[in-house]
């Protein structure tokens, strides 16, 4: 592939993927398990076609019975519940948002991030990266979006930072997130000053089992900068 410019290379990969899929079509994601299996196939390749993943995740129609065991809510903050580790290529996580719960403003560790809403509605506010200078400046809002059931959103660091929240005071929300490559640290940003801080990503539950973090002095959870 050396010597080809970026666009030609992209097109060549898309062609290759198309040929591959025509020979071995992905299973229709009728259940969450189908979706996980299909995603594992997609992510066997080193190159990812964002459109393809987006489309594939959109095809799965949310069914609460299938993800119910991962939907563990907490009264005090949103939770991250690990579903699958994608053979090391991605993390698939169910996030549970109680009424009024939201995240701080964060980046995505140079990874691809897909978010599919499984229940309720999630609002996204995007911000530009702060400048590199030492000045304390408020982060600039760029776009806002609202995502309903079954919709899929995508973000990576080149697009900016974002905050995700459940603005509803009456309904909870549940979302399915795919991060590739998987990461365990994010940067969190203060809206007023632009200051950033590295924060470890933790799981409230793994594979449907509640994890005991927060109980020992070693594993304390960093609060959201909200």
């Amino acid at each position: 592939m050396a010597g080809m410019d970026v666009e030609m290379r992209g097109n060549a990969i898309d062609e290759m993927l198309k040929k591959k899929r025509d020979l071995n079509p992905l299973p229709e994601p009728e259940t969450l398990d189908d979706l996980v299996q299909g995603l594992k196939i997609i992510f066997q390749d080193n190159e990812i076609n964002v459109e393809e993943v987006n489309e594939y995740m959109s095809k799965y129609k949310t069914n609460a019975r299938e993800w119910y065991k991962y939907a563990k809510f907490d009264h005090h903050r949103y939770t991250r519940n690990l579903v699958d580790q994608g053979n090391g290529k991605f993390n698939l996580i169910v996030l549970c948002w109680g009424e009024g719960q939201g995240s701080g403003i964060h980046s995505h560790s140079d990874s691809h991030c897909f978010m599919k809403v499984l229940d309720g509605t999630l609002d996204e506010t995007m911000y530009s990266w702060p400048s590199d200078s030492e000045d304390e400046r408020e982060l600039q809002k760029t776009e806002t979006h609202s995502y309903g059931k079954d919709s899929v959103a995508y973000i990576n660091d080149s697009m900016g930072l974002h905050r995700v929240e459940n603005s509803s005071h009456t309904n909870t929300a549940v979302s399915l997130h795919l991060y590739s490559p998987p990461f365990d640290m994010v940067e969190c940003f203060d809206q007023r000053t632009g200051h950033r801080k590295k924060v470890r990503v933790t799981f409230y539950s793994k594979f449907g089992q509640r994890t005991p973090f927060g109980c020992t002095s070693v594993e304390t959870l960093e609060p959201e900068n909200n």
Partner: protein
């Protein structure tokens, strides 16, 4: 749902999204086995007296039905732990007067309705552990809330609340307090007495400063403050509109206690002098008319 873990699946009845126009009274034949009943997202406009037939009922969800009235027979359910009636058309007076007699009730969810006043019956419910009153039209919280001594979760987000009674600080069991999307200008320092508070949601209000006592809350790990006009550097940002000569003269007369009667000054000045307001700073005995400097915790014409 989360709360019904205490009920085996065979004792749960799920009739959500079933196009029901009426409360399914016929189910009462199996009443001795029905402990959890989901009736959300139907068209049941009234929760009728027949509900009392379901004596084993622990959890009832009748959300999103266009419900306008809740029958008093609800309080005849001796085991009722959870009552969820969110996203309905309930208004002041829709709840039974005797709701407080429902001693078994632990979780009450009335979010997404049209209440303008905090129902009196709820104030006395000392056994309630969680109260969800989001997205209604509440403007105040009664001081009688202090009687809800077992309250662990208080959700008041999305109302029109402009101030909190200091009695909220008496809710010693409170772990989660949600006040986002309201019109709060301040929060009482008495909240610092909430030793068990783990999360406090204050985003999208009109709060200019937090009482410093709040840092005493050792268990508070989640705090949301965005969307408030929190003053970062009030000394630098202080803007000052100088008072008029009229104001200064008025202050002089009042502060020095110069005696005057109706015939001593023109009627318009006599009226003006009667408009003098006492400075809210308890340490200041001065008055002001229109101009004052509002600092974070106090405003005072002496320090202007």
């Amino acid at each position: 749902m989360m709360y019904e873990d205490d009920v085996p699946p065979e004792n749960r009845v799920d009739l959500a999204y079933s196009g029901l126009d009426l409360f399914p009274e016929h189910l009462s034949e199996k009443a001795d086995r029905i402990q959890s009943l989901h009736l959300n997202n139907n068209r049941i406009l009234v929760l009728p007296r027949a509900v009392s037939l379901f004596q084993e009922l622990r959890h009832l969800d009748i959300s999103a039905n266009g419900l306008t009235h809740v029958s008093g027979e609800l309080t005849h359910l001796p085991n009722l732990r959870t009552f969820i009636a969110k996203n309905n058309l309930l208004e002041d007076g829709a709840l039974p007067k005797e709701l407080g007699r429902c001693l078994s009730l632990q979780v009450l969810n009335l979010s997404g309705n049209g209440f303008m006043e905090f129902p009196e019956q709820i104030e006395g419910m000392a056994g309630l552990r969680a109260l969800y009153f989001g997205a209604n039209r509440l403007r105040t919280v009664p001081s009688e809330i202090k009687h809800m001594s077992r309250l662990e979760i208080l959700y008041l987000g999305g109302n029109q609340i402009s101030s909190l009674p200091l009695e909220v600080g008496s809710l010693s069991s409170l772990m989660s307090l949600v006040l986002c999307d309201n019109r709060l200008e301040s929060i009482p320092p008495h909240l610092a007495r909430l030793r068990n508070l783990r999360s406090l949601s204050l985003h999208n209000n009109r709060i200019a400063a937090l009482p410093s006592e709040i840092i005493a809350l050792r268990n508070l790990t989640e705090l949301s403050l965005r969307g408030n006009p929190l003053v970062v550097n009030f000394v630098r940002d202080l803007s000052y509109d100088p008072p008029t000569l009229l104001e200064l003269a008025g202050r002089g007369v009042k502060n020095s206690g110069i005696p005057y009667g109706e015939g001593d000054v023109p009627p318009n000045l006599y009226r003006y002098l009667s408009l003098a307001r006492k400075c809210p700073n308890p340490k200041c005995t001065g008055v002001y008319f229109d101009a004052r400097v509002k600092q974070i915790k106090f405003f005072c014409n002496i320090y202007a």
